[in-house]
C-alpha cells in the first residue's frame, strides 16, 4: 500500500516537474517553405528568426527560453493551412511567422478565428494589409515597392515602356494591378503583361514575346528558383532591356547570378551601417555567423520575432498571459518599436510603413543602393 502511494506521489511529482520544465519555454510558430522549389526562402527566413530568438534568450527578455516551432508550407496555400492548423490547434502558439502572399492569405482566416497573431515578413501582395487585425506585416507591401521603382525608372532613368512577366498567383496579380495603376500618371505605359504558371521552367518563348514588345523595362514578378530561370533565359535569349523586380530579388543566389547583374529591385530602406544598437548588433552577429551580409528578408523575420519578444516582455511585466488577443492589445498600446532599421510604428491596419530603397544587383550579395523613395 505504502509502495503504491509513494509511486503515485513520485509519478505526480514527476508530472508536475515535467510540466514546469515545459512551461519554461515560450513557443511561437513559423509557417515557412522548407521543401520544394522555394525552400531557399525558408532557410533565409529562418536565419533571421533564429538570430532574433538567440538575442532574446541571451538578453533574458522573457521568463523562459523563446523557441520557434517550424512547419513546412512548401509556399503552397493548402500546405500552409495544414501547418497553421497544427501550430494553432496542437501546439497552441499565440504568434506565427508567415511568408508568401498566397500562404499568408490562406492562413489569415484561421489566425483571425483563433485569435492568433500571424506576422508576414516575406509576402508583398497589397491585400495582405486587409486580412484582419490579427494579421500584421513587418514588410512594406507591393504597392509601396512598385510605386517607388516605377518613379525611379521613369523619373530618374527616363524609361517609358514597361513589360511585365508575372507568375499567375495573388502576388503576380497584385503587381500587375499596381503597375496598371502607377505607370499612366507618371507618363509611362505597361505595353504588355505575360502571365506564367507557377510551375513553368521554360521561358525562351516568353523571352521572344518580350523582345517583340520592345520595352525599356522588364518587370519580373516571380520568386524562388523560377525568377532566376526567367532572368537567365531572358538574357540568354537576347533581351537587353533593364530588368527590375521587387524584394524577392534580394536572395543570395540571384545577387550573385551573372545574368542578373545590373538588375534593379526594391526593398524597405535599411541603413546597414547605422549606429543604432539593434541594427548594429544584428548586422555584426549575422555577418559573424554566416560570413555574409544580411538582406531585408533576414531583417524582417528578425524584426518579427523581436516584435513578439518586446510585446511578450511588456505583458509579463504586467502579469498578463501571452495570448494573441493580449499581444494585439499590447501592440496597439505600444507606440514605437526599436527594430533593425531604427524606430518604427505600425499603421492602423497592422502594416509597417517604411521608406523604400531601389538597389542594383552588383554581385556584392546585398545590392548597391541607388535611390531611396518615401513610401506613398
Amino acid at each position: 500500500m505504502l509502495r503504491k502511494t509513494l509511486s503515485s506521489i513520485a509519478f505526480a511529482v514527476g508530472l508536475a516537474s515535467a510540466a514546469s520544465v515545459q512551461a519554461e519555454d515560450i513557443e511561437i510558430g513559423a509557417v515557412f517553405p522548407l521543401s520544394g522549389p522555394n525552400a531557399t526562402y525558408g532557410d533565409i527566413f529562418m536565419s533571421g528568426a533564429e538570430l532574433a530568438a538567440k538575442h532574446v534568450n541571451e538578453d533574458g527578455m522573457l521568463s523562459g527560453d523563446l523557441k520557434i516551432l517550424y512547419e513546412d508550407s512548401q509556399a503552397l496555400p493548402q500546405q500552409g493551412v495544414v501547418a497553421m492548423n497544427k501550430l494553432v490547434n496542437v501546439e497552441g502558439v499565440p504568434y506565427v511567422l508567415s511568408a508568401f502572399t498566397g500562404v499568408s492569405k490562406a492562413i489569415s482566416t484561421l489566425a483571425q478565428r483563433s485569435e492568433t497573431v500571424a506576422v508576414n515578413g516575406g509576402g508583398v501582395g497589397p491585400d495582405l494589409a486587409e486580412l484582419g487585425e490579427y494579421f500584421w506585416n513587418v514588410i512594406p507591401l507591393a504597392n509601396n515597392e512598385v510605386g517607388a521603382l516605377a518613379r525611379y525608372a521613369v523619373e530618374d532613368l527616363g524609361h517609358k515602356r514597361f513589360t511585365l512577366v508575372y507568375v499567375d498567383d495573388p502576388l503576380g496579380e497584385s503587381i500587375l494591378n499596381e503597375l496598371e495603376k502607377t505607370l499612366p500618371p507618371l507618363g509611362a505605359e505597361l505595353v504588355e503583361s505575360h502571365s506564367i504558371a507557377a510551375s513553368a521552367q521554360q521561358f525562351s518563348g516568353v523571352a521572344a514575346r518580350v523582345r517583340s514588345d520592345n520595352p525599356d523595362v522588364v518587370y519580373v514578378a516571380s520568386y524562388g528558383s523560377q525568377q532566376l530561370q526567367i532572368v537567365k533565359q531572358l538574357r540568354d535569349n537576347g533581351v537587353k532591356a533593364q530588368i527590375v523586380s521587387y524584394s524577392a530579388f534580394s536572395v543570395p543566389e540571384l545577387q550573385t547570378q551573372e545574368e542578373a547583374q545590373g538588375a534593379l529591385f526594391t526593398t524597405q530602406s535599411i541603413e546597414w551601417d547605422s549606429e543604432d544598437p539593434v541594427t548594429k548588433r544584428f548586422v555584426n552577429d549575422y555577418e559573424a555567423e554566416h560570413d555574409n551580409s544580411p538582406t531585408s528578408y533576414i531583417a524582417n523575420y528578425y524584426n518579427a520575432v523581436r516584435v513578439f519578444a518586446l510585446l511578450a516582455q511588456a505583458l509579463e511585466e504586467q502579469d498578463k498571459e501571452i495570448t494573441g488577443a493580449n499581444l494585439l492589445a499590447q501592440r496597439k498600446a505600444t507606440g514605437t518599436f526599436e527594430l533593425v532599421g531604427g524606430e518604427v510604428s505600425f499603421q492602423e491596419n497592422g502594416t509597417l510603413l517604411a521608406p523604400i530603397q531601389v538597389l542594383e544587383v552588383d554581385g556584392s550579395g546585398s545590392g548597391k543602393v541607388v535611390s531611396v523613395k518615401t513610401a506613398e
Binding site: A200, Q202, F203, V206, A208, R211, S225, L228, D236
Partner: protein, 290 residues
C-alpha cells in the same frame, strides 16, 4: 519573325522532351513498369553533371560520363532492388507507382540537402543567343540539342533493330514468356531497358542544366511531359513518344504566337485530351480490343 523564333525555340525544347519521353516509353513499353522516378533520374543526371563540371572541375567529357553513369546506375539499381522485388511478390501496378513516386520525392529532397535547394545552372557561353538574322536569335545550344537528339535516335534505332539485345527488348514488350524460349532472360532484358531508358535522359538533363537551369524539383515537369508524350505517341511506341515529345515542345512555344503566355503549359494537356478523346491509341499505337 516571332513565329520563326518560337518555332526554333520549340524544336530545341521538343528535342529534349523527345529524348526523355523516349526513355520513359522504352522502359514502360518493355517492362510495363510505371517508372515515375524517371524524373528523378533526370534530376540526378543534371545535378551530377553540374557537380562534376563546376564542383570537381572535370573536363566536360568526363562530366558527361559521370552524369551518364549515375543515371544508368540509378535506373538499374531501382529495377533490381525495388521493382524486381515488388514484381516477385506480384505487387500491383499501383504498388509500383507509389514506390516509384516515393523514390522521386526522396531523391528530390536528397538533392536539395546535398546540393542546396536553390537554382543552379552550368555557366557556358553556348547558351547565349546571337542574332542570326534580324529578330531571330539562336544559341549554339539550340543546334546542339537538335543534333544530339537526332544522333541518339539514330543510335537507338540501330540498337533496337540491328542487335540481338535490341530485338530482345522489343520482343519483351510483346511477350515475355516467348522471350524465354529464345534463351533470353526477361529479368536481364528489363535491366537493359532501364539502363538504356535512363541513358536517354542524360542529353536532356545536360542541356537543361546549361540552358534553363535546374532545381531539385526539375524532375516533376520532365515526368509530366514524358507521360503525356507516351500517351500521345501511343503506349509502347518509341517513335510515337519521340514525335509526341517534339510536338509538345513545338506546340508549347507556338501557342505563344497568338495566345497568352499562360497557355504554354496548358497546351500539353489540350493535346493529351485531344488524343485521349479522338485517337486513344496515339500517333503510332495499335488499336486494341479489350
Amino acid at each position: 519573325m516571332l513565329f520563326l523564333q518560337l518555332l526554333a525555340n520549340g524544336l530545341q525544347v521538343g528535342a529534349i522532351y523527345a529524348l526523355t519521353a523516349a526513355g520513359f516509353s522504352l522502359i514502360f513499353g518493355s517492362t510495363k513498369i510505371f517508372h515515375f522516378a524517371h524524373g528523378a533520374t533526370f534530376a540526378i543526371a543534371a545535378y551530377l553533371f553540374h557537380f562534376a563540371l563546376t564542383g570537381l572541375g572535370l573536363h566536360w567529357t568526363f562530366a558527361v560520363a559521370v552524369s551518364a553513369t549515375s543515371a544508368v546506375v540509378f535506373g538499374v539499381l531501382l529495377d533490381r532492388f525495388m521493382y524486381a522485388p515488388i514484381q516477385r511478390h506480384e505487387g500491383s501496378f499501383f504498388t509500383v507507382f507509389v514506390a516509384s513516386f516515393g523514390i522521386g520525392i526522396v531523391v528530390q529532397n536528397l538533392l536539395g540537402s546535398v546540393f542546396g535547394r536553390g537554382f543552379m545552372s552550368v555557366p557556358t557561353p553556348l547558351s547565349n543567343s546571337v542574332e542570326v538574322i534580324p529578330g531571330l536569335y539562336l544559341s549554339p545550344l539550340n543546334g546542339l540539342a537538335i543534333l544530339c537528339a537526332i544522333a541518339c535516335f539514330a543510335a537507338l534505332h540501330f540498337f533496337l533493330t540491328r542487335t540481338f539485345t535490341g530485338k530482345g527488348l522489343r520482343a519483351l514488350s510483346e511477350n515475355p514468356e516467348l522471350v524465354r524460349t529464345f534463351g533470353l532472360s526477361p529479368r536481364r532484358l528489363s535491366t537493359y531497358a532501364f539502363a538504356l531508358g535512363s541513358l536517354l535522359v542524360v542529353p536532356g538533363a545536360i542541356f537543361t542544366a546549361a540552358g534553363t537551369g535546374i532545381n531539385p524539383a526539375v524532375g516533376h515537369h520532365v515526368m509530366l511531359i514524358s507521360l503525356a508524350a507516351t500517351i500521345v505517341g501511343g503506349i509502347g511506341s518509341l517513335r510515337g513518344a519521340a514525335c509526341a515529345g517534339l510536338l509538345i515542345g513545338v506546340a508549347e512555344n507556338l501557342a505563344m504566337w497568338k495566345l497568352g503566355t499562360q497557355w504554354s503549359e496548358a497546351i500539353t494537356f489540350a493535346i493529351l485530351f485531344f488524343f485521349i478523346i479522338f485517337k486513344p491509341s496515339g500517333f503510332f499505337g495499335r488499336a486494341t480490343v479489350s
